[in-house]
Amino acid sequence: MKKKLPEKYGFLFVIFLFWLVLTLLSRAGMLTSHFSSLLVPMTYYAIAAVALNLCVGILGELSIGHAGFMCIGAFSSAIFSLLTRQILPGGVRFFLAFVVGILFAALFGFLIGIPVLRLKGDYLAIVTLAFGEIIKNILQAVYLGVDADGVHIALNMTDFRLSPDGITLIKGAQGVSGTPRDSSFTVAVIVLLLSLIIVQNLIDSRDGRAIMSIRDNRIAAEATGIHVTHYKMLAFTISAAIAGAAGVLFSHNVTTMTNISNYFGYNASIMLLVYVVLGGIGNIRGSVVAAMILYLLPEMMRGLNRYRMLIYAIVLILMMLFNWAPALVALRKKLWQRIRDRRPAVGKEA
């Protein structure tokens, strides 16, 4: 079934308008600096949520390690930018940083996918978690630098013998610093739009239908001749690549990545999962909206200070109960039915 163009691209237009309004407000100086600083993070979390939803909602495999792919994208692109800082002009460098970050994340997605996608259900979840933790752990422990003698790599400061004129790339737990601040809200929104177009077109394609058929019934899909491993790898790699793009925006926004377990640990992966589930599993647009709202919510509640995470937790539990508890879902359906009975039938969105 072909979707009508407005239906397919309507949401992209909404995001464009959203960007336009915020950019104009920002130009007019009507946004506080705190709020302006939230725009880029909000967008890259939305991108990461889209990536995770491709994995969880469309492919149907629970991943609790997606922050690991963000981490790969962030570090590889940051290292690239540090190395080429003197050589390349800003725009070209940032574009190539995206290419590097996305390729590396896709490569890791592919490599991790080979063993991981053989497992099922919660086992797959725990292995993705383990991979995320391993990536974070290694990057936290490693020292990496380049000088005239070549590449230096070590596990502690004493073994790390870099000549003074060399470039330190990763400094153990202190991470990467000095990445150029290339990310802007405009670039972030462009990446978000591109990833939405890619994911939406994937879903509407032959490949996408094959992927979703695996989600719905693997055995039936296999019986109709769908190469399960091939399509699983395809979706997982694309998902990792998009998460990597979010990572590129991340590293070129914060410029100094020190406390990476906060940003890329399993807590971060779980936060992404919360965005996906509250936005609606398999609902790509929902992920974008949920990620933006849920990222801004605790930030906007800074006034409540000590209580904001408590409130966030309670809101999260209540929303889950309200959205998913069978008893409440039935109640809600009944109410909807009553409202709908009064009005003539309205076309339901697919």
Partner: protein, 294 residues
């Protein structure tokens, strides 16, 4: 000789992981949910003991009992309020996210009540321990008590599950909820009982953990929780001896790699071993392979 010392330390840490993993594996086996809040129940248990001892000045044994009772209640209440309404939800992710919400909630309640600064935990076990080979090998009292407690719990649980009606009911619910209901088993009650047992074990684990590493913060539960979860999967989730073996192996690997390879990479090594085990044996060491019927 120092190797033996490290090995014993590993066994001790592994026993704590094993006790936590037992709670994880029981809840998973019966309710089919990953209880991400399990680690935070450990934390709450430690805070209860801390409050009872340092503030109310109660006897250590009474404090531990208070912690067990408190965590038991907490486990049952969260199950009733947050997890039970979601049973039968269209996606199993719903209850997972709710558990994450409960985890945030417990952490923040602890943060608001006790503050973020670490609290010093005075060990409950006054016994200095035994020294062998003219002091070359020192085994701390905490270590002996921890290992002893975990063995006791393992044997107790095995006996409970295999020789009591409630235990048999748990096995039945784990195998097939629908069929268990038809046999007259109260599924809700059985699951509540599982949560009660799992949470009281978490309290015990919290006490032992804090006796070995005597500081408490609102976040101490998170990492042991994840490690114990890994241990449960490693041993074959749903299997009680599996959780025990998984916990012990994990503890030993962690301590040995921390000592001999790299302290920063210890966690990576632990997770790496998990991945290798799951690739060779996708259901864990002692997990049963479930046939897939079309």
């Amino acid at each position: 000789m120092s190797f033996l010392n490290y090995l014993i330390n590993g066994l001790s840490l592994g026993s704590v992981y094993a006790i936590i993993a037992l709670g994880y594996t029981m809840v998973y086996g019966i309710a089919k949910m990953l209880n991400f809040a399990h680690g935070d129940i450990i934390m709450i248990g430690s805070y209860i003991v801390y409050t009872c001892m340092s503030m109310a000045g109660l006897h250590p044994a009474v404090s531990v009992l208070c912690a067990v009772a408190g965590c038991l209640l907490l486990g049952v209440v969260t199950e009733r309020v947050a997890y039970r309404p979601l049973r039968g939800a269209s996606s199993s992710l719903a209850v997972l996210i709710t558990a994450i919400g409960v985890s945030y909630l417990l952490q923040n309640i602890a943060l608001l009540t006790f503050g973020a600064e670490p609290k010093a935990f005075t060990t409950l076990i006054g016994w200095k321990g035994i020294s062998l080979f003219d002091g070359a090998l020192m085994i701390r009292g905490t270590t002996i008590v921890t290992i002893g407690a975990s063995l006791l719990i393992l044997v107790g649980l095995e006996l409970f599950i295999n020789y009591t009606k409630n235990g048999q009911a748990m096995l039945a619910v784990a195998q097939d909820k629908g069929a268990a209901t038809l046999m007259g088993i109260d599924v809700n009650k059985t699951i509540a009982l599982t949560f009660a047992i799992g949470s009281s074990l978490a309290a015990v684990a919290g006490v032992l953990l804090c006796s070995a590493y005597p500081t408490i913060t609102p976040y101490i539960g998170a990492m042991p929780g994840i490690k114990a979860f890994v241990a449960a999967v490693f041993g074959g989730i749903g299997s009680i001896p599996g959780a025990m073996i998984g916990g012990l192996v994990l503890g030993i690997v962690e301590i040995l790699s921390r000592t001999y390879i790299s302290s920063q990479l210890a966690d990576a090594i632990v997770f790496g071993i998990l991945i290798v085990v799951l690739l060779v044996k996708p259901t864990g060491l002692l997990g049963k392979r479930v046939m897939e019927k079309v």
